[in-house]
Subunit: 908 residues, 2 copies
């Protein structure tokens, strides 16, 4: 049996199609598909990945391959009417690699192959430009020498500079045809000197060498490392694509351009494109000449009437519009195309699904459903989560931001921790942020890193900027929960907290200076840039706008309604206040998956009682302090229960280490000492006692409740009291009490006893009961390992994947900044494990916990409340595990709804 | 079918034996066994645990039980010739609970049951003492009221005090018979007032109530909690033992005593015991009268000639010696007995395996093998690990220490972190400790807690005392590694580091004051107490004594030689220096399981280069600094390889976070800045950058080697260079390079590439090769979960159970002091999981790692190098997992050898 080494495309008998990626590579299969549906792609052929495999075995091109290549070139000559290596219409080709999976490290592209002294004359005649032909030639020598032969590229650049200097010119395009002849002479000499042979004049030699180089590059160290890190088999191999060149720069009846079948910025159903007359593809991108619009209407808007493609090449324009319609019909999505016009003949060089703004995603997909082009489920499947993030965030005016990036206003780039743009003057402390906001100022809170004590300042500020911390640092987590723009880990800035000065990009900024941050990109700018608010939030949260005015809000609602019909997993939210709860409900939350009781303690009037509790030396003192806190907690819970109505509310008992509640600074300690009638020394001693080497693994979570059962009792009473009160108002409350940081079932049993005892006592006292659930977080590896034991005592599990990831990987998210980014870059982890669940490590523990939990208690309720609950790929994994719900911060709820629907569709 | 409710013992037809623990409880089965082999135990009977189960079901004594009890009492009357509740020889009994598993929380003991006004006269006649009978009576009322009826004990005490005050006497025994009549009257009134009924005069009522109380106590809350925490089934039930009382205080032909069949302090084959004439058991213990020796020889030594049991009751003495021989023959171990002589008749009240010193353990067991009493394997099975710990540690003179405990010299008690006693003046800094030791002083290093920078001071000091930290804190781990006496977590002491003063027990101690610490008990004393050095170490390590002089060293060697013949697991050691290696070999180590390369960097002349490396800003600077370190490391490794010879040596690449190497204090930073020609500010900045929130989970382990591959390369070169050098000397070296903190196989692969590249380069350069292994620690949960992937790249796994426990449980051992001790006390964990492997949590991960590792690489070598490697119960678990070796600190090697043999015997 003989295998077919080569697949031809672009004549009447295209041999491949888009299903043949493993044999033809991604690029080859796509070119074949375009040719197959009669798009005008320049013809060519693809040498299969099988040939690559045989190449690796024998260490060279397999016998007979070049015979097949010659036959295919002959077929190409016939199709194009051009001649390879000569004739009045010389056939030049491009040679490109194309593996089944896109990967860097391999030989990329050689253009203009086939060029030599022999064909230059015909080329010159065809183009009417001796300069153009010579410039193409010298570029080909350089590209071939560098890419195919691996010669030192600098040596060529050096000669080019020398000739320019010699001629006293600055730019490449200032060199004359004669100058370029000199450059070519010198290039030939460089080639000969380095390669030890003269430059191949024979186009067949050129072609064989290029094919050889592509296959050889599959085995180069960079490609091998990339494959190993990304777990790609060495056996896949790469294909080689040989394609006829099309020229947009052979005269004024030629041109080149790019375009989108719909507007990529707003999704409107209008072709959006730009082109240049007598130019090559790279000229459009290079920005030396300003491209012209494709559509006449657009040209008129830009005072370029008469210069559009529609006006200059009306026939080509009509053909292009026809092609655009055909492409959308075939690919069923907005396409991003590259085209070339060679002597008024249109060639399509590439088509791919268009990148677009969130706005364009929603508008285009809902429209395509209306047009009957796609199904609702297609729309739901395709809209990326980032699109919703963009829609929900305030955004910088794009063109102004772009200018700011180039005119020196861009100060630094940190991690994009909370999407959206914000601006204001600088507040260096939380108190200052709160105070100045009260006075009506807009401020950006700028901190080294934030702590729970900064909450009021974060809440007051327009946005948050920190110099340290990663995407799951305190600042990042809290900001996302609040829906605040936030940039963290901006390590190039310095904060001089003594002088209250921010030092960035070598400049100093004081509290009076305005800055703008973009939490979607991580950028920090000096001064202000126009910001547009999210229309969806204006409609749903701020209620300052009606949905009728807002196309984008209508599209948003439509997509999410479709998603809700499709998804099977519930969506809850992490919310600590009635306000959070209301936002989350407005965005579609079906319950609270995590209410952190500790955030309630940082209010100025409450922290004192909390501190008094911590500083108590006896259980009696502790209980007295807790008695002050209990009514405050009950009031919080009443507010949340009322906001949530009949939706379930999971409340976690106290979790953070106690030292987080104590003051850090000397003056604050003095103040506290006075107000409590204690000595400052005693408070300092207690602070020292509570100091921990590794607070993450210290005295926190249920360990607090076990050592100080009074705390758990107080919280149980506050929750049950509030539930009874709100139930008496006729609301069908569903509290779920959750014990954190359980690693051993005994911890849960002991805490459960405390809760049940208080609940029973209250039921008896009030002659009224309320249903409540009692469960635990699964966030300590040991709890997952012994989930069968734990499930015997818990009616629900909620995965706390932040801590579970920290402990399973042995990585503190606060300290991971010094290595984790590199880990992701090296491919050790495919993504930041704190952003997307590490399914092959942490995921094993989660699967164990689900299996063992269900084995011990088949109807156990399973959810997740870590940061991963708002991450689409993690949500997909949760769906695979069969969790009943995911819980995420309020502003991530829409994303979770969409991702859950996508997961449901994917599992079909 | 009728079940037998009651089992009788002590007449010619004893019905139970020691195999019937589940039916008769531990105590009942043991009493039956003693009776069965004709030991003179007072007769009695046991009501079965089955009856308890029925009691719990019906909530009371089953029908017909009291009939069986009456029949058994009749049988007891017949056997003893006494009458229950009357007659000239009244039968009094004790009633005791006895579950199959010893457990607190249940009703314990009622003595003298059957006493009432009616039998008092006969009792008085028999004893000749009205005072004795009345005192017994009032005690019985109090015990019955308190234990059986649950009445308030204080009310009785209150009346007793009132009568004493009234009579103007101080001690109970100063009360006359008439006074006691008054006490009894008042007790009766208290009983009646609280119980609402008069005290039962009828002995049958007394007996029924006592039996009822025992069964009821099985269900009391404390017992239930205990069972739940210790996972004991509620269905086990308790038995009730009713036994005839025997009196040692009925006259001068009576007595009571305790004794050991061999000397419990040195193991000599001589009965060792004490007794009192005309006394009850509690009198011997109470210490009001001084007991007399059993043996005449001993009496002569104490100037008590003529007063020994041997001389006073020669027939009883002979009987006792016969019994001792019989007991040893039956129980095949040294027995600890209680006996009572009632009118020259000897009763054995209890026999149990004797507690004894380490010395006595070794001497008695080796002697028993010589005597043919037991097999070598019995001796190996029985010697507890603690015995060896004692033998290897210097010890305080026991009687002097005892005096010191009572005369105010005992200052504090901390955690017994490193066994042995040490004394010296106080050094408050490591430098001071080193300097004064150089000047010939003996010092105890006293620190808040130690850091790696203190190593030289710890090494110099006689012992270490810290105020903070747990049993696996830095001080504890390092001290055990060095074999130094160490007390940690001594929270009642304070160190005023400004004034250089230690404050303990309200007193201040300066650098000139002498203190003594006992790391075996955790005690800290003021001043000096005689210390005896370990004979075994004198023979094997210090070589200042010959084994021929030392019985104990001979017994030690004998037991361990037997253990070596039996065990199947290898024993390695954790050693970082040639000196450690030599000690470990002398104590039987077969290799190094963990050589920590970082400890080599804290020497004064090396730390500078290390700091320079850390402070480098470019790879080139870093490499330059590392080039200084490389020869030092190579020299270290040569020393270790030479010391270890052909034994395998596992070397771990750099593990601790870099900030551990940087100076902390300002002056030290200044000094460093000068010596490196940097600004102090730059160093402070770097220190700040390296500061971590949770260093345990931070930038350490292989994460260092991945970010700074130069370090791994340098270490690989140093190891391979040293191995080649030593191999060239004709030694068959076996280096095993171990990569720490791997959580993802890619980390290992990348580090492995670095090592292999350096090794290959050196092999080529030197034209010589050496075999080496490359493996990893399993200390991150994720590594265990993905052990199949990891094993594909590792030829060995070494469990780092310290970190594995920290991460799996989410507990920082440095911070666990505030809750872990309570956790162990509550029974949440059966033992400190940092001392003994948490087999039901961490153990699951270890089992997964072993299974998955073997599945991917069947011949993978498996070991453990955490602190648990020296813990007997953990060693047993390791044996069950099928590990090839355990590795522990040098001074734990003998214990590990013994424990491994015990594990091998247990698995048979």
């Amino acid at each position: 049996m003989t295998t077919q080494n080569i697949y031809f495309f672009g004549d009447d008998n295209t041999e491949g199609d888009s299903s043949m990626k493993s044999l033809l590579g991604g690029k080859g299969a796509n070119l074949a598909e375009m040719a197959r549906i009669d798009l005008p792609v320049p013809p060519g052929f693809t040498i299969t990945t099988d040939v690559c495999t045989r190449f690796q075995e024998v260490g060279g091109l397999p016998d007979g391959l070049m015979d097949d290549v010659r036959a295919s070139i002959a077929r190409l000559e016939k199709t194009t009417g051009k001649t390879f290596g000569g004739g009045s219409h010389p056939l030049l080709v491009s040679v490109r690699s194309g593996a089944p999976i896109s990967m860097p490290g391999m030989m990329d592209t050689v253009l203009n192959l086939g060029l030599n002294s022999a064909v230059r004359d015909s080329m010159e005649e065809l183009s009417g430009s001796g300069r153009f032909v010579r410039d193409s030639h010298r570029r080909f020598i350089q590209m071939f020498g560098n890419v195919v032969k691996g010669l030192d590229g600098e040596a060529f650049e050096h000669e080019l500079s020398a000739v320019k200097k010699d001629r006293g010119v600055e730019n490449d395009y200032d060199l004359s045809a004669e100058d370029l002849d000199e450059v070519i002479r010198r290039y030939m000499a460089v080639y000969e000197g380095q390669a030890g042979e003269s430059f191949p004049e024979d186009p067949w030699d050129q072609l064989e060498a290029a094919i050889h180089a592509v296959f050889q590059s599959w085995g180069n160290p960079r490609a091998i490392t990339y494959r190993r890190l990304n777990r790609i088999s060495d056996d896949l191999g790469t294909a080689v694509n040989v394609q006829a060149m099309a020229y947009g720069n052979l005269g004024n009846d030629c041109g080149t351009g790019v375009g989108f079948t719909r507007d990529p910025s707003n999704g409107t159903r209008e072709f959006y494109g730009e082109y240049l007359v007598n130019a090559q593809g790279e000229d459009v991108v290079a920005g030396i000449r300003t491209p012209l619009p494709v559509r006449a209407e657009r040209a008129a808007e830009l005072d370029l009437a008469g210069q559009s493609l529609q006006e200059t090449f009306p026939a080509v324009f009509d053909q292009l519009m026809g092609l655009a319609a055909q492409l959308e019909k075939h690919y069923k999505d907005v396409q991003d195309i590259e085209f070339t016009i060679e002597h008024e003949r249109l060639y399509l060089l590439q088509t791919r699904t268009a990148k677009r703004t969130g706005h364009a995603w929603l508008i285009s997909q809902t429209a395509m459903v209306d047009e009957g082009l796609i199904e609702k489920s297609d729309a739901v499947t395709r809209v990326p989560a980032d699109a919703l993030t963009q829609i929900l965030a305030p955004t910088l005016n794009p063109s102004e931001a772009n200018r700011a990036r180039h005119d020196g206003r861009l100060l630094a780039i940190g991690l994009n921790a909370g999407p959206g743009a914000a601006q204001g003057t600088i507040a260096f402390t939380a108190d200052d942020a709160a105070e100045r906001t009260n006075q009506g100022q807009k401020v950006i809170l700028v901190r080294e890193e934030t702590t729970p004590e900064d909450i009021h300042g974060m809440d007051a500020a327009q946005g948050i900027l920190t110099a340290r911390g990663g995407l799951t640092s305190h600042a990042a987590v809290v900001a996302r929960g609040m829906g605040k723009p936030c940039v963290v880990g901006c390590s190039s800035i310095r904060i001089d907290s003594e002088r209250n000065v921010l030092i960035a990009d070598g400049r100093e900024f004081s509290a009076d200076d305005l800055i703008t941050i973009d939490g979607t990109t991580g950028e920090v700018f000096a001064g202000t840039i126009d910001i547009s608010a999210s229309e969806v939030l204006q409609v749903h949260i701020e209620k300052t706008r009606s949905a009728d005015d807002s196309d984008i809000c209508q599209a948003f609602d439509q997509i999410l309604n479709w998603a809700d019909d499709i998804r099977t997993m519930g969506i809850r939210t992490n919310a600590d206040t009635p306000k959070d709860s209301e936002v989350a409900i407005a965005l579609g939350a079906e319950g609270i998956g995590l209410c952190r009781t500790e955030h309630m303690f940082f209010d100025t009037d409450r922290i004192r009682a909390m501190r008094q509790m911590i500083l108590s030396r006896t259980p009696e003192e502790r209980e007295a302090a807790l008695r002050q806190i209990e009514p405050m907690q009950a009031e919080d819970f009443r507010g949340i229960f009322r906001a949530m109505g009949s939706r379930p509310v999971t409340i976690r008992t106290l979790d953070p280490p106690l030292h987080e509640f104590l003051p850090h600074g000397g003056p604050e300690v003095e103040e506290l000492a006075q107000s409590l009638g204690m000595s400052a020394a005693a408070i300092h001693t207690r602070i020292d006692e509570l100091r921990e080497m590794n607070p993450m693994l210290g005295h926190r979570g249920c360990r607090l409740g076990l050592m100080y059962p009074q705390i758990t009792r107080m919280q149980a009473r506050a929750i049950i009291t509030a539930a009874l009160d709100v139930a008496a108002e006729g609301i069908d409350v569903h509290p779920e009490i959750m014990i954190p940081l359980v690693g051993n079932v005994q911890e849960l049993s002991l805490q459960k006893e405390e809760v049940i005892r208080e609940a029973e006592a209250l039921f008896e006292e009030r002659g009224q009961t309320v249903d409540y659930m009692l469960g635990t977080m699964i966030e300590v590896p040991r709890a997952a390992l012994t989930a069968d034991e734990v499930a015997a005592e818990a009616t629900f599990f909620s995965f706390g994947t932040n801590d579970l990831t920290q402990m399973t990987l042995g990585v503190s998210r606060d300290d991971a900044g010094s290595f984790l980014p590199d880990y992701v870059q090296y491919g050790i982890y495919p993504a930041d494990p704190f952003a997307s669940i590490d399914t092959s490590g942490v995921g094993i523990l989660m699967q164990m916990a689900v299996d063992k939990g269900r084995q011990a208690r088949p109807d156990i309720k399973l959810g997740i409340c870590g940061e991963h609950g708002g991450d689409p790929s993690s949500i997909q994994f949760c769906a695979k595990l069969g969790l009943h719900y995911v819980s995420c911060s309020p502003y991530r709820v829409p994303i979770a709804r969409l991702a859950a629907a996508q997961a449901a569709l994917a599992s079909k």
